[in-house]
Subunit: 308 residues, 2 copies
């Protein structure tokens, strides 16, 4: 008999994730258990939120629920104070920050144009050295992004909820000053959690406040951007371009005007790909199972009221 | 009367460069002079090598000749030991290293595919974190590249003429071991000077020695790569892809097969664009004029025998 309460891994709709999480539970000294006997639940499908309430109901003894992604908006309506909630917060920050740098360099050095060329193109491009980069959001992605951009000597402005200066930023502003924060930006990176208060934070007014030479990089969620306003800004050249790793909806339908705009690059939510992300989140599951079994504080705690 | 010998800036075929160099000469305390009276010559057109011998002949008192680019192969046949030769060596290393990072990130994160997409593409991409990067060449570009890649924790292999370990590289190998140096590379970056001994250094055998997952990044000269062998390697998938900022000839003709290969990205020699490069080389001219006038050693000395 094992005295420690077991840990359920569910659902099994994503076999590779289910297998990796089960292995992480076992390697951390945990005991896989059926839902009815489990003291904790590791959720193993980032998108199967519909089945969530039913499975939770079948795990009446689960005190802790680990979610797989950093963004938890699909699960937010189910949050309660009866459980401790954790997510993948911070786990994916390095690949996502890398994506943001790749997007900025693609945009600044015109690789989107060169990739499409079938004939010697014009000699264009600008440098990221010393550029003004404004990041909306002050989480793990922003921290990783500042680390990767350090050799470029960019002037970093961070926009966050609290007025506390973000370490390494040249300027930290709160959300109410976001129009000022983007006014001299060469690139604006959205790295926020999606909540009711950040929905459409990139609206017509914010796009209007950006310089005509600025690029928008969205590694947050599609809902952060008013796509109609963005399409207008891209069409009229009121901003230089946009790189979107997230859209609303996903997949973005073929009928979207954004596909046809030459200054818009869309990638299919690959800030971290499943291949990049699975070992990282499995590592987090391992770490949290270890912590839970030994009574330490869990990492990546979700605040049910804030929704992230 | 000004006792210092004057400095000629010629030819005037590139008015912006001529103006910037003349200003650099004056701001460094130099005296612009006609060719016949000049003690030094600042060459102000990177491509007008044909007129070089005639203009040199008209400047019999010139002891020092400053060339505008880092690569001087167009002028190499005119090198002699009667003059001190300097070039833009090292000046452009930061923008070119930035280009190489942009190329690697474009390739690894599949931005070349996303830029072309008109419909939600497959979720692909790999990370540069911890990748094996092999650089052919041990000059300023390599130094800048290592600085930019430092946060990515790449394993860096440098291939150079001398066996002296390159600072910061995990492994330094001489050119005779280049096939070993690329054998486990995720990216191979060509950052060499073009000389008779480096022509077609990327040939069928070297491409064959690279892993199927490896990308070739050429920021050296088109002549470093056997384009026929490269096209074959790209077509058969014996390497993953290539990003070429330099080709032979330039512009690359529309008839080149390379334009049509989906795993090949060609940019029009923009490692540094004229806009990025002109202030950098003008700064070098200023620095060297100061040094020449005060009898200090010049920067960017060309060895007439080595040809770079």
């Amino acid at each position: 008999m094992n005295a420690r309460p077991g840990i359920a891994v569910a659902p099994d709709t994503r076999p590779d994730m289910h297998a990796a999480f089960t292995e992480a539970v076992i390697s951390a000294g945990g005991q896989p258990a059926p839902l009815g006997e489990a003291g904790a639940l590791v959720w193993a499908d980032p998108y199967a939120a519909d089945g969530f309430p039913e499975i939770i109901a079948r795990a009446p003894h689960a005190e802790w629920i680990q979610l797989p992604y950093a963004g938890v908006e699909l699960f937010a309506e189910h949050f309660d104070r009866d459980h401790v909630w954790t997510c993948g917060k911070g786990v994916y920050s390095e690949p996502v920050a890398e994506y943001a740098v790749a997007a900025m360099l693609t945009a600044f050095r015109d690789f989107h144009l060169f990739a499409r060329a079938r004939s010697w193109p014009a000699q264009t491009g600008r440098s990221l050295f010393g550029a003004n980069v404004t990041v909306l959001g002050a989480g793990g992605i922003t921290r990783s992004l500042m680390r990767l951009l350090e050799p470029w000597g960019c002037r970093m402005t961070v926009v966050r909820r609290s007025p506390e200066p973000f370490e390494g930023a040249h300027l930290t502003l709160t959300g109410t000053h976001r129009h000022i924060a983007v006014a001299d930006a060469d690139a604006v990176v959205v790295a926020l959690a999606l909540t009711p208060s950040t929905r459409h934070v990139i609206d017509a007014a914010l796009l209007e406040a950006m310089p005509a030479a600025a690029w928008l990089i969205n590694v947050g969620r599609g809902g952060h951007v008013d796509h109609d306003a963005l399409a207008r800004a891209l069409r009229t050249g009121s901003i230089a371009g946009a790189v979107l790793d997230v859209t609303e909806p996903e997949p973005l339908p073929d009928s979207s005007e954004l596909w046809s705009l030459p200054n818009c690059v869309i990638s299919p939510h690959v800030g971290n790909t499943p291949e990049m992300g699975l070992p990282l989140i499995a590592g987090r599951v391992h770490e949290n199972v270890t912590r839970w079994l030994t009574g330490q504080e869990l990492i990546g705690l979700v605040d049910p009221d804030l929704g992230y």
